[in-house]
Each structure stands twice: as C-alpha cells, then as structure tokens.
Symmetry: C2
Amino acid sequence: MTTQPVIILVEPQLVENIGMTARAMMNCGLTELRLVDPRDPWPLHDPLQERMDAASSGADEILKNAKIFDTVQAAITDLNYVYATTGRTHDMTNRIFTARGATPDMAQRIAADQKVGVMFGRERTGLVNEHIVLANAKITIPLNPEFASLNLAQAVLLIGYEWYQSRDQTPGHQLYSSHSRPATREEYLFFYNRLEQELDEAGFFVAADMRPSMTRSLQNALQRAEMTEQEIRTWHGVLSSLIGKRKKAGNA
Amino acid sequence: MTTQPVIILVEPQLVENIGMTARAMMNCGLTELRLVDPRDPWPLHDPLQERMDAASSGADEILKNAKIFDTVQAAITDLNYVYATTGRTHDMTNRIFTARGATPDMAQRIAADQKVGVMFGRERTGLVNEHIVLANAKITIPLNPEFASLNLAQAVLLIGYEWYQSRDQTPGHQLYSSHSRPATREEYLFFYNRLEQELDEAGFFVAADMRPSMTRSLQNALQRAEMTEQEIRTWHGVLSSLIGKRKKAGNA
C-alpha cells in the first residue's frame, strides 16, 4: 500500500537532476520515483551512473528502486489521481492547486486508499499540454512572476517539503532547552527581588519618582528573556559576583 | 528601507552555491545578499565569476549587489533581529522556529521597521555555535530526521519559499478558465434534461425502478466536473453528434 505520492519525472535530460531529485525526495520522506523516457538509456552505465549517484548524496536506494516507463500513460496507469506541476498558465480549464493547497488533497486521497502521483516535466520546457491533459489537476507553485526559474530537483523539493510539512507536528515556534526546564514565576520573582534589593543598597535608584517605571522596565526585560531555571541560577551567580566586586572595591 | 529579510551566507565554499543561492532568492523575490568570508577572494575573476553567474541562471543582479564582510559580527551589525538556520539541535536554550513559523515573525518585525536577516552556515558543517549565539533565534526546517541533507541553495530556497508564501494570496485550490466562465445551474440543468430526454428516446432506462438512482448518478458525475459555459456547449455538440449517428444508423 503506497502511503505517499509517487514522483514522476517526464523525459528528464540530465542524470544529475535525477540524482538531485532523489536527494530532495529523501529529505522529505518520499521514496517512490518513476521516470518516463529519460534521455540516457536505462540502466545507466558509468560515468553516468556515478554522476547520478554522486548528485543523490546517498539517496541511491530511491534510484535503485526507480521504475522506468516508455510513456506517461504507462507511468500513471495504476494511479487514481495525478497532479501535473506547471509554472505557466495553459489554455485549459482545470483545477489548479498551489503546492500548499495540494498536499492536504493528496493526504485525503491517500487516506481513502487512492494512489496519487505528481508529474514534473523535462528541464527547460516543463510538461507539454498532451501530458498535462492526462492529469486530474495542476499544481502551480506561487513564486516571483518575473523570475520563476526552478530547476527540476528544486520543484520536487518544494512539493516534497509541503508534503512533509502537512504531516509534521513541530510547533512553529518553541523555546528549546536541552538541560533545564523553564523557570517558574517564583524563581523569576525571587531573582528580581534580590536584584532590586541589591540595587537599593548600591544606590541605583537615585530619583524616587523614577523608581516605579524603572522597576517595571527591569522586570519586563527579564521576563521577556524567558529564562530556564538553570539560567536564573547563573544570573544569581552573576549578581553575587558583581556585588562581591563592588563590596571588595568599597573595602579597598 | 529594507522590506525583506537579508540573506547571509557564512563562509560559503563553492561559487556555484553562491550563484544557486542568488537564483533561489530571485525566485522568491529576495534581493539582498551578504557573504561572510567566502572561500574565494572577492571580487571573483574568471572562471570563478563565470561559474557563479552560470549557476545563478540570470539572477546576477543579486550577485553584483552582494556585500562582502570579514566577520559575522560585521555582517549583522545593522540588523535588529537575526535568525540562524541549523539542521541540528545544539546544547543551547534558544527560540526555535520552523521555516513556516519564522516568516510571519519576520514580516511583523519588518512591518515594525526592524531589519532582519537569516544566516546560513558553510557547506557540510553548517553554522558553528560561536555564530549561532550571535543570532536572536534559530530556524530548523522540519525534514526527514534520517536524511536531512539540504544543500545551501536548497535551504535558502525553502526559507525564501516560505517568505513568498506568507505574502502570497493565491487560493490553495481554484478552477481556472482562461476563456469562459463557470456554467450556471440553469445551463447545467438544461443540458442534463436534454440528455435525459434523449436517453429516454434511445431506450436507455430499461428498468423503471433503476431510473431514480441512475439519473442521480448521471447528474452527480456531471456536476462534479464543474464545467464552464463553453464546455457545456461542447457537450451539447457531442450529444447532437451521437444522436445524429444513431438516427442515421436507424434510418439506414
């Protein structure tokens, strides 16, 4: 049972691009590659095989398992839904997805036991109309309209990237700590109160009327740092060290 | 006034990667590139210059305007907020964004007149800790943990892609028609009624008890096609043609 979209390269011209496509796929957890009428006869021989493997940066398992077809029809015959990637607007009425819009659609179809595939055209020309019409829908990636110049592997990467993101649960923003937990409000307050007391003793608050806004400002900045328990302890040490220096200087 | 993130490559080793980075940036509408201590002395001379320009596929304006710095500190000194891209988890507590999570943050900062930048480390090693600590936050792109192997320009592409998407208004899914508007329900119904009447005359509905489910099924399939007014007219022609053929056959 295929649980991911199949990547279909139509008439790829350069073995480096096939290798880089495999690398892009592997980054995104995609493994099933089909090639339609590649320029160089398959199986490849050295040095073409070497050049492709080098470009794949270790994703050669995908290349070993790649299936070769003579025609687009043959390559998609077992699929239920096919997306044709295209950078240009063609004179056909058709469903058009963005890369981001397409991946939930793929996921829903796959969850319903459909086999889906994404076709990519050959370098320079892209997919031609006779191949696009064989697909159920188009994908056009929104990019700078004055300079839309993705290479083949980059186009595969963006589709694969969206596929991976649609299934990934990583929060968009988090505070990472490998060794320590976030400080509690109590730990914050304890440190802040100690700081304020030491500043009092050091004569920091010269103008009494400035004191409320000054203490708020100090607390705010500390709070925004979102320190860990370990970091609060480090700053206690910093404070002790600075006091020690001043007191020593005062004693001298 | 900078209205987009600055891209900062730290110690890039290969001029091809600098060229491909410019290409990736241009695809995403990014134009401001800074290089920190590139391996090959700047300005480049041929054949390095030629190799870089070739890799940029026409994005050489970005390369011409690229600024060169000796140190990371110098390259980011005028920026208000810097993101460090990294594929690995480091032993530091820090804000971590995904690529998707980071771009709204960038946009909000830029809207508030902040200058922001995104740093990318050198090929193979990525950013080292002494450079990461100079940044305000990290960006880690969620990808296959068993094979996270983006090249430099691909990492820039994914950040640039997310930047472009965060500002792009293209609907995730649309039905495009260059020449014709979507058919109205009336046009649909008129075609369907004509089809049903012709099927009646042709003796299609042999079992009367099957008729309700059959007519529903035909209407459903037609409706899902979401045809344009032009396409409905074409299908009227198809119907006329098939009737003509049958009637002619009947007359013969």
